[in-house]
C-alpha cells in the first residue's frame, strides 16, 4: 500500500498529464492524410482506450486466478473492479471506433456496423464482461460469488485467442492491423508519435486511478458492512 501523499501526487500528475495530452491531441498540427483528414486525431484516443481495455482485462483475470488460489475477498473485488473499468474503456473504445468508421470506411453510405472482426471481437468482450456482472449479481453468498465468477472470468479469457487471431482470418477487415495494412509503422509521422505515446501512458494512468479508487471504495464498504453485521449479531 502506498502512502496517501504519494497516491495523491500520482493522481494529480495523471490529471495534469491527461489534460496536456487532450489539449495537444486537439491543437497540435498533424500531417494531412487523404480520407482520414482531421479524424486521424482519434488515434490519440481510440487506440489507447483499446490498449487500456486489454490491460484491464489482463489485470482482472490475474486477480481472478489469485482469488481461486487464495480465496480472499480483496482479489475478488479487484477482479470485479478491473472488469468494470475494462467495460468502461471498451464501451468508450467501441463508441469512438464506430463513429470513426462511420466517417471514414463508410463515408457516403448509411452503414454504421458491418461485422468487422475488430468491432465484433470488442463487442463480444463487452458482452462477456456484462455476462460476468450478471453472473455476479445472481449470488447472495460472497464466497460462492467470488469462486464461480472468477472461474467464468478465467474460462472466458481462455477463448480470447480465438477472437484475436482466428476471427480476423474468417472475416475480411478494413481495420488497420490487417495484412498489408499495418496499424502503426515507420511511416507514421513523428509528430503523431509525440502525442500518441504519452496518450497511452495517460490512459493507463487513468485506468490505474479509476481502478484503485473503486477498489478502495469497495474494501471500505466491505469493512463497514462487516462491522455493522458484527455489532448486530
Amino acid at each position: 500500500m502506498i502512502s496517501t501523499r504519494r497516491y495523491r501526487l500520482i493522481r494529480n500528475s495523471v490529471f495534469v498529464w491527461m489534460t496536456v495530452v487532450i489539449t495537444a491531441g486537439f491543437l497540435m498540427s498533424i500531417p494531412k492524410i487523404d480520407i482520414l483528414e482531421h479524424t486521424a486525431r482519434n488515434l490519440y484516443f481510440h487506440v489507447p482506450m483499446w490498449f487500456t481495455m486489454m490491460a484491464a482485462a489482463i489485470v482482472s483475470v490475474f486477480h481472478s486466478i489469485r482469488h481461486l488460489r487464495k480465496r480472499d475477498i480483496e482479489s475478488d473485488l479487484r477482479a470485479a473492479e478491473a472488469a468494470r473499468v475494462a467495460l468502461l474503456f471498451g464501451f468508450m473504445g467501441i463508441t469512438t471506433g464506430v463513429v470513426w468508421a462511420k466517417v471514414t470506411w463508410y463515408q457516403g453510405t448509411s452503414v454504421w456496423w458491418n461485422f468487422d472482426p475488430r468491432q465484433t471481437s470488442v463487442a463480444i468482450e463487452l458482452m462477456v464482461y456484462s455476462a460476468y456482472f450478471v453472473l455476479r449479481s445472481s449470488f447472495e453468498d460472497s464466497e460462492l460469488r467470488g469462486r464461480i465468477s472468477a472461474a467464468y472470468n478465467v474460462f472466458a479469457f481462455t477463448t480470447m485467442p480465438f477472437l484475436l487471431y482466428v476471427l480476423p482470418r474468417q472475416l475480411d477487415s478494413l481495420h488497420p492491423g490487417a495484412e498489408g495494412n499495418p496499424a502503426f509503422s515507420e511511416i507514421t509521422d513523428p509528430r503523431m508519435r509525440l502525442v500518441f505515446y504519452p496518450a497511452i501512458i495517460g490512459f493507463m494512468g487513468l485506468f490505474w486511478i479509476l481502478y484503485t479508487q473503486r477498489v478502495r471504495y469497495r474494501l471500505l464498504k466491505n469493512s463497514v458492512e462487516n462491522r455493522y453485521l458484527n455489532d448486530n449479531s
Binding site: L68, T120, I124, M127, V128, A131, V134, L135, S138, F139, D141, L144, R147, I148, A150, A151, Y152, V154, F155, A156, T158, T159, P161, F162, L163, V166, L167, R169, Q170, L171
Partner: protein, 225 residues
Amino acid sequence: MRLLRSAFAVLQKDLRLELRSRVGINSLILFVFTSLFIAFFGISQQPVGPRVEAALLWIVVLFAAAIGMGRTFVAEEEQQTSLLLKLNASPLAIYLGKLTFNFILLAVVNLLATGVFIVLLNKTVADPVTLLGVVLAGSLALAGSTTLLSALIVHAGGVGLLPVLMFPLLLPLMGALVNATRISLSIPPMGVPTGVLGENLTTIVAFAGVTITASVLLFDQVWQD
C-alpha cells in the same frame, strides 16, 4: 485407471437415467425438429444461399445446446444427489463423465438435426464424411464449452443464465461451423481437407481442445464446496 473407471460409472449412471425416462433427449429432438421446421418454413417462399441455411441450422443447434446442457448439474441439485456424487467420485471423473454424456447427447441431436436439414431442404451432400466430421467435432466443441458453464449456474438462479454466459464465447466457433458445413455440403471431397475447410476444421477442434483443457483445470474450483 481408477479415474477412468469412475468417469465411466458417472457416464453409465447418466445414460441409464436418460434411457429410463428419455425426457431430456426427447424434448431436445422435438425442439430441434420443430424449430428447424419453423425456421425453414419461414424462408421457404424464396431460395436463400447455403450460408444462410447453414447458419440457421447451427443457430437452432446452439439454442438446443443452451436448453439441454443447462440441466447437467442442475438436475443433480434438484434430485439432491450432488452430495452423493461428490462423495463417490473425484471432480475430474465427474467432469469427464458428464462431458462424455453431453457429447453423446449433443452428437445424437445434431446428427438428427442435420438429417432433418438435408431432407427439408432437399440437399445433396457433396462430402458426407467431412459433414459427419464437422457435426461430431462441433458437438464435442459445444459440449466442451457448455459442461463447465452448466456447473457454474447451479447456484446462480438456474438454467436461464446459461445462454447469456455461453453465446458470447461461442461466436468464433459459430463462424467456423457455418463455413465448414457450407463447404462440405457443396464442394466434393479432395483428399485431405485443406484451405478454408481445413482452417475451419482446425478452429473447431482447437476450440474443443482449449475449452476442455480450461474446464479440466477449473472444474475442481467450481465443483467443491
